[in-house]
Amino acid sequence: MKLTVNGIAHDVVSAPLATLLDVLREDLGITSPKAGCEQGGCGACTVLVDGEPQRACLTPAASLEGLEVTTVEGLGAPESLSPLQQAFTHHYAAQCGFCTSGMMLAAEGYLKRGGTDDREAIQEALAGHVCRCTGYVKIIDAVAAAARGDSFDLTVTAPSAGMTNLGGV
């Protein structure tokens, strides 16, 4: 079958019920979607399918013929970070990083649907994504900042009285 991932078309030969997660990780070597639970419970494997967040661990790859899959590698590279990637970096929204790619793609889907910086709406959009490190506050800060269109300086800054690590600037 043909599977397009981050704009690149792949010929994939897989078992009939192989999950998108297995195909991405094991066949294509795209490892940003994580196998956190393989039961649809944690959100760490989330990718965008034609712009909509989907659990890769529950999606049969064979159902995606002709559709466009986006993983976090497709959002932007280190030298060309997307606004959402910049926001996650600036707001320290990733700690161990294992939930981050799924979180970011759920957030990307939310922003694409015209999501605002309303914190409750962001929480709703990220429901079902489990993070055990940051406590979610910084993640919501980052998504809200990206929704507002904040600009970010990712370089080292001088000590500042206004700096806070308690939920972002």
Partner: protein, 456 residues
């Protein structure tokens, strides 16, 4: 000091947001086999007739290991400190918790490995399991280990961690009221988003490279080398990228078995636990049973504390003696109590072995102490903030293990809490600082508590 107060980017932040961080499960080595474990379906049983030959005969199965394949079967994380090990890498003759590994298979793919595990034959003679830590403490309880349910190897081969300070009998004689409480926080699973995973790769030069999600790389290195009975220079252990640990990845849970399978099969072997295995078989924060009796005066001074702590170690000791030791050092919480009698036991049950989790050994006693402080205030009819401030650690006070406090934060924290709750403190408490005790705040019973500046 350029970093203090500055906004610094995380060293791995850009990698995280671009999907480039390489966790253990992301390492790609051609020809990697999948590992799966036969785990005990019972909490407690004797085991016989273990036969892995049906699994070994299956096409696609490259190696099966059992206790008989492990060069040194029992080695503990604290063995390097001279503390005897009690846990076999793979169960032999007995299982003591549900989920204990009995045999591990390495096969071409996950499905074959699972089928091979199902083909292994073994018989169990089930025993009644023991889960309640308080019942396990009793002399007539069924025994989890041949020697009993109390960990026997504290210094001097004592069966408990014991602290005696001041004169506990005098404190209880002089008390106006004895306030008692029992506190039993439950087990907590760490639930890291990355389940336990490791990958062992045999190298052409005879070494093994082991990729590990461990939080404690050098612990793991020593443990793997000891079980395999190889010198450290035969191992290259790669770690440092952990998808959440919180203490749950301090134990060496999967690396050694992966290494043995890689040795036996000559192939790279990966073992990634399922979420179900992570919940049911991985170590947890311990359940605790804590009994406190405080000798208090009507005006809110705590003269003395008697405390009994039972720490649920689960089936094997691992780091529990260390956790209980920390617990004992902190058993007065953020407060200064001059007369102490503490006895703490590491108790074996048929639960999964317990381990570190964020504040190992200390969060339990913080929960107990803070709840008990409010109970003392309620019994005496006093303000809970003021009882805390009165007994708060001050500069020059000493901890249960006689460490002198030079930078205690109790006073500022309790005042901040009162402020946050919009509680107005009486003027003498609002004005309180952490400076060394004097005047009314240095009553007779605390004189001996003060550190002698000459002695330190």
């Amino acid at each position: 000091m350029k970093a203090v107060g500055a906004r610094l980017p995380r060293y791995d932040g850009i990698e995280h947001v671009t999907g480039r961080t390489t966790y253990v499960d992301d390492v790609r080595v051609p020809g990697t086999l999948w590992a799966k474990a036969l785990r005990s379906p019972l909490h407690s049983a004797t085991m016989s007739g273990l036969d892995v030959s049906p699994a070994e005969a299956m096409p696609g199965v490259h190696a099966v290991i059992t206790a008989a394949d492990v060069p040194l079967l029992e080695y503990g994380h604290l063995s390097a400190l001279g503390i005897p090990a009690d846990e076999p890498l793979l169960a032999k003759d007995e299982v003591r918790y549900k989920g204990q590994p009995i045999a591990i298979v390495a096969a071409e793919d996950e499905e074959t490995a699972m089928a091979a595990v199902d083909a292994i034959e073994v018989d169990f003679d089930e025993r009644p399991p023991l889960f309640d830590i308080r019942k396990a403490f009793d002399a007539d309880a069924p025994k989890v280990h041949p020697w009993g349910n109390w960990y026997p190897h504290f210094e001097g081969e004592m069966d408990r961690r014991q602290i005696r300070k001041g004169s506990i009998d005098e404190a209880f004689d002089r008390a106006d009221v004895i306030v008692q409480g029992v506190y039993r926080p439950a087990a907590i699973e760490h639930v890291p988003l990355e389940t336990q995973v490791s990958l062992a790769v045999p190298e052409a030069n005879g070494r093994l490279t082991v990729y590990s999600c461990t939080q404690a790389l050098y612990f793991s290195m020593g443990v793997i080398a000891a079980h395999l009975q190889v010198p450290l220079n035969k191992l290259k252990v790669v770690g440092g990228t952990v998808g959440g640990g919180f203490g749950g990845k301090v134990d060496t849970a999967s690396e050694t078995m992966c290494a043995l399978l890689a040795q036996k099969s000559g192939r790279p072997v990966k073992w990634r636990w399922t979420r179900e295995e992570e919940f049911l078989c991985s170590s947890t924060r311990a359940p605790w049973h804590m009994e406190i009796a405080d000798a208090v005066t009507k005006d809110g001074w705590i003269l003395g504390r008697k405390m009994l702590t039972l720490h649920d170690s689960g089936a094997y000791a691992r780091f529990s003696p260390y956790g209980l030791t920390k617990h004992s050092f902190h058993h007065t919480g953020a407060y200064t109590i001059p007369n102490l009698s503490f006895d703490g036991f590491v108790i074996f049950t048929n639960r999964v072995p317990t381990t570190a989790m964020r504040g190992f050994g200390v969060t339990s006693v913080s929960f107990a102490t803070e709840t008990h402080m409010s109970r003392v205030a309620n019994v005496l009819g006093l303000d809970p903030y003021e009882v805390r401030l009165k007994n708060a650690n001050r500069i020059g006070d000493t901890s249960p293990n006689r460490i002198v406090y030079t930078d205690p934060s109790t006073v500022s924290v309790v005042k901040a809490l009162a402020g946050g709750m919009e509680v107005e403190l009486a003027p003498e408490y609002a004005a309180m600082t952490r400076d060394p005790r004097e005047g009314d705040l240095l009553p007779e019973h605390l004189v001996s508590q003060m550190a002698d500046p000459e002695a330190h």
